[in-house]
């Protein structure tokens, strides 16, 4: 292709990393060294290599995993291998914030300073790190690592949290939380990253903190967490695993979909779309090549439920996707996993290998050994740090190796999804529910919860509570019930507000403790359940800081495709900054009018949920507790 990121060449190490993924280049045209006797007379590829475009992100990951950043030489080499114009690839690389396009040390600590972590001392840790190691993003004074601020790492129950990544021939990662002292991170940067493989007892203790209910009776989605070895397929089967698939095969595809429809299960990713309708639409699609995607790009600040499900019960998701493939007539499954979830990726990869080994995935999924199975396999695609990729059509573009910009709908994914084929997209938690529905039947599932919100729900409690963690309760439990489960507000302080549903959700006040956490009740209260975030703020919290942070989050994560969102999120962040500094343009009333107008423009004219909800949490906060009211001493004389 004609436009090049000038003539930079890849290093041996970068080429090796790419070749490990793609295989060795077979001609000079593809990036091998030029052999004019061969290359001067013919070339092959074209279409065949262009169809590997979806390997662009995996190839970029391969380079970054190996050398810690993605150089222009590496981009040129990848582009040659995949026949992607480098200018186009540059647009992709720079879209995802986990990819570094400037030299970066091999060891990087990503220190979360997002909503939950900043309530639990993230700024203090960042200050310490700056003192110990120097400014964020620069090589540390001693040693080769660096540290960076990060948006929500999905480790909110362990706030303040950090993720340390060591690039190299074998990438090593470790998560930390709660981080008591910046020294832990400094040490990890120097190579002490054994956390993944710590002794089982230590691991279990940590897990009990993350899932305080672990081991309790009556859990459904969390039943295996802490009780069944997530690395063992045998243990999974002994605990009832793959009985749902057996039952699904008895029911047949139409039977499975009928149960799902009867269950009234709705999506748990935030949009609450009826799952049965989606499955049915995909099963009825005219095209026979279909995909099942598990949306594990959990990036809503304050959400960590999918991470824990994948880390602690990976086979359940594999089994549920297999059922989805069976029911919808899809032979390809893809898990689109957040780039920040290395342990989930590790466990899931282990599970896929084990399942393939027992013919529970592959050319013929054969549960009984009797033959006559169906084809279904799953691959993992790792995201690279883009909140927008949780939006399903942006997720498709990301899988296809493009910038994660949402597509216009219609056509809907059930008709034209990833690679232009009918696609079923379900959130991790949604899929986890499928196993129960198939096993018990839709009617029984529907008996749990309320009329319009069936089943149980996972809630991510974080912020100022005594026992932050993941909780499973039947729909209908109130906000007060959940706070009680989590041991109440930290230090017994008075409750000030709760952020429901994350940055795209909304704030509710202490008067809402009796609010049943169902789709219908939260909707009626002008709020939303979203992904199940319950982020708790006490009277002593700096809510102004929280609102500014939310605004900054959207400014950072807007993909830039629609003008109202691209410009609106910036203007909104600037506006909140002015309010916080008490330096309004004009007077405060004018600022509030401008805010309302921005919010309306983004809501009306953005094509995806990001822009449409970029103002809701802030608007609800301003209405509920307005932290930017002039302090009484500064009030203008009346």
């Amino acid at each position: 292709m004609d436009i090049h990121v000038h003539g930079a060449a890849a290093t041996e190490e970068e080429r090796e990393a790419v070749d490990l993924l793609l295989g060795a280049a077979t001609s000079g045209w593809e990036g091998a060294s030029r052999d004019i006797a061969r290359d001067g007379r013919s070339a092959h590829g074209g279409r065949a290599s262009r169809e590997q475009r979806d390997l662009l992100l995996p190839a970029l990951h391969a380079v970054q995993d190996r050398v810690g950043w993605v150089s222009e030489g590496a981009i040129n080499y990848i582009c040659q291998r995949l026949t992607v114009p480098p200018a186009d690839a540059w647009g992709v690389v720079t879209f995802y914030h986990l990819f570094a396009t400037e030299p970066r040390p091999l060891a990087v600590a990503h220190v979360c300073d997002d909503l939950a972590c900043r309530l639990r001392g993230a700024e203090r840790i960042c200050d310490q790190l700056e003192g110990e190691l120097g400014p964020a993003g620069r090589p540390q004074r001693l040693g080769d690592g660096t540290w960076m601020r990060s948006p929500c790492l999905g480790l909110c129950e362990r706030a303040p949290a950090a993720l340390v990544v060591h690039a190299g021939p074998v990438r090593e990662t470790a998560t930390f939380g709660p981080v008591g002292d910046a020294l832990t991170i400094a040490r990890a940067l120097e190579g002490d990253t054994t956390e993944l493989f710590t002794a089982p007892a230590v691991r279990l203790a940590a897990l009990r903190r993350s899932v305080p209910q672990a081991g309790s009776a009556g859990l459904r989605l969390l039943a295996r967490v802490g009780a069944v070895d997530p690395g063992s397929l045998d243990a999974y089967r002994q605990s009832g695993g793959y009985r749902a698939l057996a039952r699904a095969i008895e029911l047949g595809p139409a039977g499975v979909i009928a149960e799902l429809t009867a269950s009234k299960l709705v999506g748990r990713g935030g949009a609450a779309f009826p799952a049965g309708r989606k499955w049915e639409a995909v099963a009825r699609a005219a095209e026979t090549k279909r995909y099942v995607i598990c949306n594990a790009d959990e990036s809503e600040p304050g959400t960590f439920k999918d991470r824990l499900l994948l880390e602690e019960d990976p086979f359940a998701i594999v089994e549920a996707m297999t059922i989805a493939g069976f029911a919808c007539g899809a032979d390809s499954g893809i898990v689109y996993l957040r780039g920040e979830y290395p342990l989930a990726e590790f466990r899931l990869r282990q599970a896929l290998v084990a399942a393939r080994g027992r013919r529970l995935l592959g050319a013929e999924v054969d549960l009984t050994g009797a033959g006559g199975g169906f084809r279904f396999d799953i691959e993992i695609r790792r995201g690279a740090g883009a909140y927008i990729c949780g939006e399903e059509t942006a997720l498709f573009n990301s899988i296809e190796g493009k910038r994660g910009e949402p597509r216009s709908k219609p056509p809907f994914p059930v008709e034209v999804g990833v690679f232009g084929k009918p696609t079923l997209v379900n959130n991790v938690e949604t899929l986890a529910n499928v196993l129960w529905i198939v096993l018990e039947g839709g009617e029984k599932f529907r008996a749990i919860g309320t009329a319009e919100s069936s089943g149980t729900k996972l809630f991510c409690l974080s912020g100022e509570v005594n026992r932050p963690g993941l909780y499973e309760v039947p729909f209908g439990s109130t906000l007060g019930d959940l706070l009680e489960l989590a041991g109440g507000v930290l230090g017994g302080r008075p409750l000030r507000a709760v952020l429901l549903g994350g940055a795209a959700g909304s704030f509710v006040g202490p008067d809402q403790l009796a609010l049943p956490l169902t789709f219908e009740a939260t909707r009626a209260a002008g709020s939303a359940l979203g992904s199940g975030v319950v982020l708790v703020y006490s009277e002593s919290a700096d809510l102004g800081d929280a609102l500014v942070r939310i605004a900054e989050f959207f400014r950072h994560e807007s993909c830039g495709q629609c003008v109202p969102c691209r410009v609106g999120t910036v203007r909104q962040a600037e506006l909140l900054g002015r309010l916080r500094r008490r330096t309004p343009l004009g007077d405060r009333a004018q600022e509030m009018a401008l805010f309302a107008e921005l919010a309306q423009a983004m809501r009306d004219a953005s094509i995806c949920g990001l822009g449409q909800t970029a103002s809701t949490a802030i608007a609800s906060g301003l209405a509920l507790f307005d932290p930017f009211q002039p302090a009484p001493s500064q009030a203008e004389p009346s």
Partner: protein, 554 residues
């Protein structure tokens, strides 16, 4: 094809075919709009085979690229045909019922094994086999070509070689299969259709056919010369021999576009009278006795144009021409009146209706229909005829409507300008995306990809000559010599070099080219000159690049 000068297929078909054999064409840069249609086909799943000495940016989209030696097209076609027959992939029914001369052809290509093909073309035998199988086994396939086929001394034979392949596989006369020369300008097709070729009247009616000619004589009220005229190369020969003393040039810049420029200048300057009618003062206009400033056809006049897919479309005047410039028709009418023939001032529709009355293939195309139906594709015989998406469907009627389509026995002939120790490099020519021909239409626009004229050569030759990008060299052919900077292009292999004609004022590439012409079409062999290269001096840029650290991205 087969008697009419037009591509057989529609753009829509290239979007829906199964295989495109793009031969001697860098359509991505030279026919970018057509290439968009082609890419739609490629994205839908069509295979793309590109035959070109250079691995062009078009070739980068190909499933197979074959880098043949310049001028070995017939050898490659014969070898592909051999493999198609050896593998039994030919379309027997079509050959039997719709073609003639197959037996002689079969015997001729029997000796053209892929191994012999490799020897003559440089393309590996295995690749020749792959191409044969991909093309022949595609349910529908089309062959598209441009000047890489026709700017040779044996241009017509080259085209016939491609037709042989299509006949062999039955890849013509059906939807999605066809033979398509890509036209260089928006209205090259229309010019030919209207009779601006030496042997045809409007609608491809042969001038030497007395009854056809009589129809025109009746309508025009004059008698017409019964013999065909001269093609461009023939005109220059006639000037050379003193038989042609006056020349009226409309919208053409031979001073820059003709091969062997030294001779072109001498001949044009030696004319008694040279008249040039153009939208700008071209190099040819500068030596003319009379210049008629003309309106720009695409926006300052009324009429029609015809695209490569034979689609006649209306053109409307959007703005009046600048002061002093006049519509081509106005100029012609006034000139006629001064010469004693008052043609009146018919508008473009009246003239078009005369075309319809004389050319059966245009008869059904009223202005009203052209407007309503977004253009029509000829042939369109009457007002109810919808026009034809593709030509030669008759070849699939049984029994076939005569005449049958003939195979041709073709012999490989190397380019006229032979390589030897004094002139060891092959120079070929072409165009680049941002430029058009001699730059008359494109020179006044800025382009971020414009880098001026260069001699492009392979990294291997650059290393051997010890030159770097931007270094100045002297390029000499048997006809002329010039200085130009070089540009290293990995798309070239050792021994092969490339230039364009885009910047004739800076680098007059046609000083080097040869005017050996095809005896039938009169096209010169722009694609194959023999040259030598002598390094002159290092450019300042190349010199500083030698010492510089890589430049950061802007």
């Amino acid at each position: 094809m087969f008697g009419v000068g037009g591509g057989t297929s529609s753009y829509q078909e290239v979007e829906e075919t199964d295989c495109v054999l793009l031969w001697g064409s860098n359509a991505r840069e030279t026919h970018p709009i057509f290439f968009h249609h082609l890419l739609k086909g490629v994205h839908r799943g069509a295979k793309l085979i590109v035959i070109d000495p250079r691995r062009t940016t078009s070739a980068q989209w190909a499933d197979i690229w074959a880098g043949l030696d310049i001028g070995s097209d017939i050898a490659l076609s014969n070898a592909i045909a051999h493999e198609i027959l050896a593998a039994g992939l030919e379309h027997r029914e079509f050959i039997e019922h719709a073609t003639s001369g197959f037996e002689e052809f079969r015997q001729h290509v029997a000796t053209w094994t892929p191994e012999r093909g490799e020897q003559e073309t440089g393309v590996p035998a295995a690749v020749i086999r792959e191409i044969a199988h991909m093309f022949a086994s595609a349910p529908r396939a089309m062959i598209c070509w441009t000047l890489g086929i026709t700017e040779h001394h044996n241009a017509v034979d080259n085209v016939l070689a491609l037709i042989n392949l299509a006949l062999l596989c039955g890849h013509v006369g059906r939807y999605g299969s066809g033979l398509n020369p890509l036209r260089g300008q928006n209205n090259v097709q229309g010019g030919g259709d209207m009779g601006a070729i030496p042997d045809r009247l409007t609608g491809f009616q042969h001038v030497e056919n007395a009854p056809l000619r009589a129809a025109f004589e009746r309508v025009w009220g004059v008698s017409l010369p019964p013999k065909k005229g001269l093609h461009l190369s023939g005109m220059f020969d006639a000037m050379e021999h003193g038989e042609m003393k006056a020349l009226y040039v409309i919208g053409e810049n031979p001073m820059r576009s003709e091969a062997d420029q030294v001779r072109t200048r001498r001949l044009l300057e030696g004319l008694d009278c040279l008249v040039v009618q153009d939208i700008s003062l071209t190099a040819t206009a500068e030596v003319a006795d009379v210049v008629f400033p003309a309106a720009a056809g695409w926006c300052e006049s009324e009429g029609t144009v015809t695209s490569s897919e034979r689609r006649v479309q209306r053109v409307r005047m959007a703005i009046p021409p600048p002061a002093g410039a006049r519509d081509d028709l106005d100029i012609l009418f006034d000139l006629a009146r001064r010469l004693g023939h008052d043609w009146g001032r018919p508008d473009s529709e009246t003239i078009w209706n005369e075309v319809r009355s004389l050319s059966p293939v245009h008869a059904g195309m009223s202005y009203a229909r052209l407007e309503k139906e977004d253009g029509l594709q000829w042939p369109c015989y009457d007002e109810r005829h919808p026009g034809e998406l593709f030509l030669h469907s008759r070849l699939w009627e049984r029994p076939v409507l005569e005449p049958r389509a003939p195979f041709h026995v073709l012999h490989d002939e190397p380019p006229v300008d032979l390589l030897d120790a004094d002139f060891p490099f092959r120079l070929t020519t072409g165009r680049r995306l941002a430029e058009y021909n001699t730059g008359v239409q494109t020179g006044s626009y800025a382009s971020p990809t414009r880098r001026g004229e260069t001699l492009d050569l392979s990294p291997e030759d650059a290393a051997r000559l010890e030159v770097r990008n931007g270094d100045l060299v002297r390029v000499t052919s048997r006809r002329g010599s010039l200085e130009t900077p070089i540009h290293i292009d990995p798309a070239l292999r050792p021994g092969l070099t490339f230039m364009t004609f885009h910047f004739p004022e800076e680098v007059a590439t046609n000083l080097l080219t040869i005017d050996a012409t095809d005896p039938v079409s009169g096209t010169a062999e722009f694609k194959a000159a023999a040259i030598r290269i002598e390094p002159l001096r290092r450019s300042a840029a190349a010199e500083s690049a030698r010492n510089a650290v890589p430049v950061r991205r802007a």
